[in-house]
């Protein structure tokens, strides 16, 4: 279910003194099975873009096509669309409201009209995907830790079985362990064939997991390509106030020190490159 964005612009509160151009002329295609990382400085329009993917926001101009269908055309079934394109907001733990974790996860599929065994199966499946202790299911979500609550919120989205999952800074504010666990869950979902759009500030995660990277700068799409392509333009990224992954940082410093290594994205690759650079002197890494 590819998502195609065509010349999309979004203006907040047009015609008022609070008018703000959030997105300008974005064209972007998200292919099936991709893990697209959306990066950009705070206020660059990442979250605004994410909310266009399932019709929560409508573009001021341009189109968003999901599976070839313009989602903002009249008569589009928004509910069906939101089932197909799941969106997990920033700090999603604040959306929990039910008495038990089970009921909260059931909220989405219930809205889809599911009942009985089917509903129960969906809830348990989604719950299993987020690796929480079994006894959490009957607890109140407000008894859980922040990281656990966020995973419950993720389960609430997963219970709708979306084929595209949009995650808005899913690891913000979590401790290192919570981050690790959540990234693993995302990795597993991607392996299962779910298309993922991941908004993140953690370039190491992006380098490790993403198949494509899109860079937003002041509401414009500044770069779009594989992580290797994007992170090779480190100087430009730094000008936009963005980091490069630690591996790339190290490569750049090594080159500055005279060692001939290309930009590497993973630890293994970097180790290989250093080894061959040391062995072969100036030989190709």
């Amino acid at each position: 279910m590819p998502i195609v964005i065509e010349n999309m612009s979004h203006v907040y509160q047009p015609g008022s003194p609070f008018k703000a151009d959030a997105l300008t002329d974005i064209s972007l295609t998200i292919e099936d099975g991709e893990l697209l990382a959306l990066i950009g400085h705070t206020g660059s329009g990442k979250s605004t873009l994410a909310q266009h993917l399932n019709g929560l926001l409508q573009p001021t101009s341009g189109r968003v096509l999901v599976n070839g269908q313009d989602i903002n055309e009249k008569g589009t079934n928004r509910r069906a669309l939101r089932q197909q394109v799941g969106l997990l907001f920033q700090y999603a733990e604040y959306q929990l409201f039910e008495e038990t974790v089970y009921k909260d996860i059931a909220f989405g599929p219930k809205n889809q009209g599911l009942t009985g065994d089917e509903l129960d199966r969906r809830v348990r499946e989604a719950f299993a995907l987020v690796h929480l202790p079994e006894d959490c299911l009957e607890k109140s979500p407000f008894e859980l830790s922040g990281g656990q609550m966020r995973r419950v919120a993720l389960a609430g989205v997963l219970a709708m079985k979306p084929s595209v999952l949009v995650l808005d800074e899913p690891i913000a504010g979590l401790d290192p362990r919570g981050r690790e666990e959540l990234m693993q869950i995302i990795d597993e979902l991607h392996d299962k064939g779910v298309t993922i759009v991941l908004i993140s500030h953690n370039m190491d995660d992006v380098a490790r997991m993403a198949t494509k990277v899109a860079v937003l700068d002041k509401g414009c799409l500044a770069m779009h390509g594989t992580p290797r392509e994007v992170f090779s333009r480190g100087d430009e990224l730094e000008k936009m106030g963005l980091d490069v992954p630690q591996t790339v940082q190290l490569c750049r410093q090594l080159r500055r020190g005279g060692m001939d290594v290309p930009d590497c994205l993973t630890d293994e690759e970097l180790a290989q490159a250093i080894v061959s650079a040391l062995k072969g002197g100036k030989a190709d890494a």
Binding site: Q13, Q51, N54, Y94, Q95, F97, N111, M160
Partner: protein, 263 residues
């Protein structure tokens, strides 16, 4: 969606009127209201209209913005006009249609009362459009502070108002976000009968309350951490000072009131 609700409706530009002392502006607004009621004839409204127009110009306010404040009042306006038109009595009959009688006096009263309403609302809007809520409560606190002697909690009241106003946009934003998050999970806030709609609000209200209480707790803690202990002995960062411009504003309003009561 929810962001379209303008509360306090402050229009953030820099102008002569925006820079006036809030205390003076509050007092002048009341004086303006009294002035409007002093005018008896329709001629008396010319200075009022001229004043509103000039004030809007001086404040760099689009007239449209000023008139927008009248929109929620349109039914009351029509009601006032119609009621006065038909039921004021009077001798000079203009139109007589079966039992409907429109007299000249009735027409005049209808115009006068509706005009007064319009002036009251635009006058008050002039204040709220040109004064940020925080500055407004600051001015209010200073104006009410003499009442502290008889035990009136001026500072506490102003602090409560400031905090409440400060959190309206925050809570609106939060509500908007939670609403979207639930909509992303298939929630429907827009259709159904009243009961269904009320029930649909639960997924919005519960998280909103939880976060409002969390914020309140955090804020109380943060205030205490910075040694907040009420208004006693508290100094201000922005000390209000009456300047020459304030006196000019006073003079203009006074002129308007005099003209209105003479005409």
């Amino acid at each position: 969606m929810l962001k379209d609700i303008t509360l306090g409706q402050f229009y953030p530009v820099d102008s002569f009127v925006h820079r006036l002392d809030p205390r003076i502006k509050i007092i002048l607004t009341f004086a303006f209201i009294v002035g409007v009621f002093l005018g008896g004839t329709l001629w008396a409204y010319i200075p009022v209209i001229a004043f509103i127009y000039l004030a809007a110009k001086a404040a760099h306010l689009p007239i449209k913005m000023l008139l927008k404040g009248l929109k929620p009042l349109r039914f009351i306006l029509i009601f006032t006009f119609v009621l006065n038109l038909f039921f004021s009595g009077g001798d000079t009959v203009l139109v007589k249609l079966w039992f409907i009688v429109i007299s000249k006096e009735g027409l005049m009263t209808a115009i006068r009362f509706s005009a007064r309403l319009v002036f009251l609302v635009t006058g008050a809007s002039l204040l709220t459009l040109t004064t940020s809520p925080v500055v407004l409560t600051d001015g209010l606190e200073r104006l009410l502070s003499p009442l502290r002697k008889i035990g009136f909690p001026a500072h506490e009241l102003a602090m409560m108002m400031t905090i409440a106003l400060r959190f309206i946009p925050t809570l609106l934003e939060e509500a908007d976000k939670i609403m979207k998050a639930q909509m992303a999970r298939g929630a429907d806030f827009e259709s159904g009968n009243i009961m269904q709609r009320a029930k649909a609000m639960i997924p919005l209200l519960v998280p909103l309350f939880v976060s409002a209480f969390r914020r309140a707790g955090d804020l109380a803690m943060a205030m205490e951490a910075r040694c907040y202990h009420g208004g006693e002995g508290r100094t201000r960062m922005r000390v209000l000072k009456i300047t020459k411009n304030d006196w000019i504003a006073v003079a203009v309003v006074a002129a308007m009131i005099v003209l209105t009561s003479l005409l």
